[in-house]
Amino acid sequence: MKPSRRSRRSAGASLLASAALLAFLGWRTLAIAPRLPGLFHFGGIRNGLSWSFERRVQRAIAQAPMTRKTSPVETTAVLAMVKEHVELHAVVMAQLEHGSAGRQLCTLVAMLAFPRFVTPLPLTEKEQRRCRELAAGHGLYALVRADASQSAWQSSATRIARTGKHELWRLEDRDR
């Protein structure tokens, strides 16, 4: 019996699909071929097993976004300052740099200084109130650039420590 037009069309489409599949396999095989030698790359394993924790932290700091005013050395100094002068569970409102790079640096310090709660500025009124509530009993701090202009809040705050480019201030953790 002669196959119907519909079944012939279906067989033709299926043949086309098979050709497309083969073309796909060929295309992707050619695309991945140069990357196959990467499978034999086992470098860095010894470092992964033997490095000290501090060195891994340094590597994370080195991978953070850089600006003209920050460097791994400065970020390390800021982290050390926060760890030394801020007690656990205290809240630090921080502005290390402007823009997204500043927020990422702040995230990095927040992660590595945990359980000190470093949170990036600017904060809304509600967020500031929440920070004060959470800081009660533990301390509320501000971490700002040393070259920033003098602000009104600094009159009622105490400067605790500073690095080359940043200052740590202790704030009143209750609204008067």
């Binding site: 086309l16 695309a31 196959l36 991978q63 992660m111």
Partner: protein, 483 residues
């Protein structure tokens, strides 16, 4: 490293032992698929450990591995005993391959799997040279685990601090709970070893892909597809970090593979594994829940539009669907209790109606660009899926591949809906998340490509695959339900 080698061993293998017990209780054994067996253990063990830690966290008991590990091991032993007592449901075996393949083809497949496993382990170790400090890995997942561990459980302190200092605090708990498992070994916070329980799933994903492809393709073809899917750009899939992307991909792939085995054999054991994998999937991320729903919608559509009488699963099999629902409910309860909200859930309908026309163009063009112009990010599998669907829709919707193809269309529709209703800047949201979100289905798409290839007698594991499949009673039962 902060943890001792013994502690690292415990972080890795205690959940696997629990998994082995749970897999035994499900009715699965090593000989059912030696390649997939460690994957099933990792998946069920991870889910079981997280479930225990979830309860532990509500009870506020101390996070100390010296207390938790014996309970995990006892649960594993009890599950294994239960599995031995109840025995295995019948009809588990799948059709044996009829193709004889040359020895070097099998050897090539084995060598490639070994190389991919070694490369994944090497990548995991290399990743650990950097402490967790940047990106979603740190801000979303490790931060949530830190907050939970520091608060000492799921208590008010955790809720208040997570709302103030967390990010996407409404995301599911599976990943953070497993990181807490690592913290419990040090009884302190960790910034490197926290990744270890999550990196296990990146390794499991390689084995799951290999096992799923090997089941349907001849070894040479399976090796080729496996290699193609493995070389997705690392920046997209973040394979060995602490993010949940590989977990979503693993849950979906194991669910799809178990679902296909269930269709082919009708054995309840595969139904159990299917629902356990779905439970894992919905516990990973919200995207996991969307993909799980897409899989179920794909299956339901197949049954509804079937031209033959569909063989519905027995209620006893469907009862296992309670497991993913329980995981969803557990996450929902945490969010409700602590007032965690997703920003995207604020006013989706208003955004959808108000900005549909403005957004649909950029979304379609964004996806088209991603699928057709960025093959390094998704192995080009979306491109071939769309091309085949247009060229030969009947072929893409034929046989067991049908629910998978339909599920993928539902997933695509779901993503479009999410981007249509996003409260964020659309361009930023598309650029920052679309490659990552679409990557999650790439391994499953690899399986779909394998199924398309298997329809060709030259690539399949069966000589004249369709005729052989039609002649076996178990396969006939499978095709009945698919229509």
């Amino acid at each position: 490293m902060t943890l001792s080698p013994l502690a690292v061993f415990s972080v890795l293998f205690v959940p696997l032992l629990l998994g082995a017990g749970l897999v035994h209780a499900l009715g699965l054994r090593w000989r059912d698929d030696p390649l997939a067996y460690p994957v099933w253990c990792a998946l069920t063990g991870g889910l079981g450990t997280a479930a225990l830690l979830y309860l532990w966290s509500w009870l506020g008991w101390p996070y100390d591995a010296r207390l938790i590990a014996p309970v995990v091991l006892a649960l594993g032993a009890a599950s294994a005993w239960l599995g031995t007592r109840t025995g295995r449901p019948p009809g588990l075996a799948l059709a044996q391959p009829t193709r004889r393949v040359p020895w070097f083809e099998t050897a090539l497949f084995r060598v490639l799997v070994l190389l991919l496993v070694a490369a994944t382990v090497a990548r995991a170790v290399r990743t650990s040279t950097v402490a967790v400090a940047l990106g979603d890995e740190a801000v979303i997942w490790t931060r949530k685990a830190q907050l939970l561990f520091d608060a000492g459980g799921l208590n008010d302190l955790f809720g208040v601090r997570a709302r103030a200092f967390g990010s996407h605090e409404d995301y599911p708990m599976l990943n953070p709970l497993l990181q807490v498992w690592a913290f419990a070994h040090a009884r302190a916070l960790l910034w490197v070893e926290a990744r270890i329980p999550i990196q296990v799933f990146a390794l499991a994903l390689v084995l799951a892909q290999a096992a799923a492809l090997r089941r349907i393709l001849r070894p040479g073809a399976a090796a080729l597809v496996l290699a193609i899917v493995f070389f997705v750009d690392a920046s997209t899939r973040k394979p060995c970090t602490g993010t949940a992307e590989p977990m979503v991909a693993l849950g979906l792939l194991v669910a799809a593979d178990a679902g296909l085995r269930w269709l082919a054999s009708r054995a309840e054991t595969w139904a159990r594994l299917f629902f356990v994998a779905l439970a894992f999937l919905v516990g990973t991320k919200h995207e996991g829940a969307l993909l799980g729903l897409s899989v179920l919608l794909g299956c339901a559509t197949c049954a509804l539009v079937s031209r033959t009488v569909p063989r519905w699963p027995r209620p006893r099999q469907l009862a296992w669907a309670a497991l993913p629902l329980a995981v969803l409910a557990a996450g929902w309860f945490v969010n409700l209790r602590f007032g965690f909200q997703n920003l995207a859930s604020a006013s989706p309908l208003a955004i959808l109606t108000g900005r549909f026309q403005e957004r649909i163009g950029p979304i379609v063009s964004g996806f088209a660009q991603l699928f057709f112009a960025r093959p390094r990010w998704n192995a080009g599998v979306f491109a071939i899926w769309i091309v085949l669907s247009l060229l030969a829709p009947a072929r893409t919707l034929r046989g067991p591949a049908r629910p998978l193809a339909l599920g993928c269309w539902f997933a695509l529709a779901g993503w479009v809906l999410v981007y249509l209703t996003t409260p964020y800047d659309l361009d930023w949201h598309l650029i920052s998340s679309a490659p990552r979100v679409t990557y999650q289905v790439v391994p499953t798409f690899g399986l779909w490509v394998g199924m398309m290839l298997a329809q060709d007698p030259w690539f399949g594991r069966f000589v004249r695959a369709r005729r052989a499949a039609a002649s076996t009673p178990t396969a006939r039962a499978g095709t009945l339900a698919l229509g």
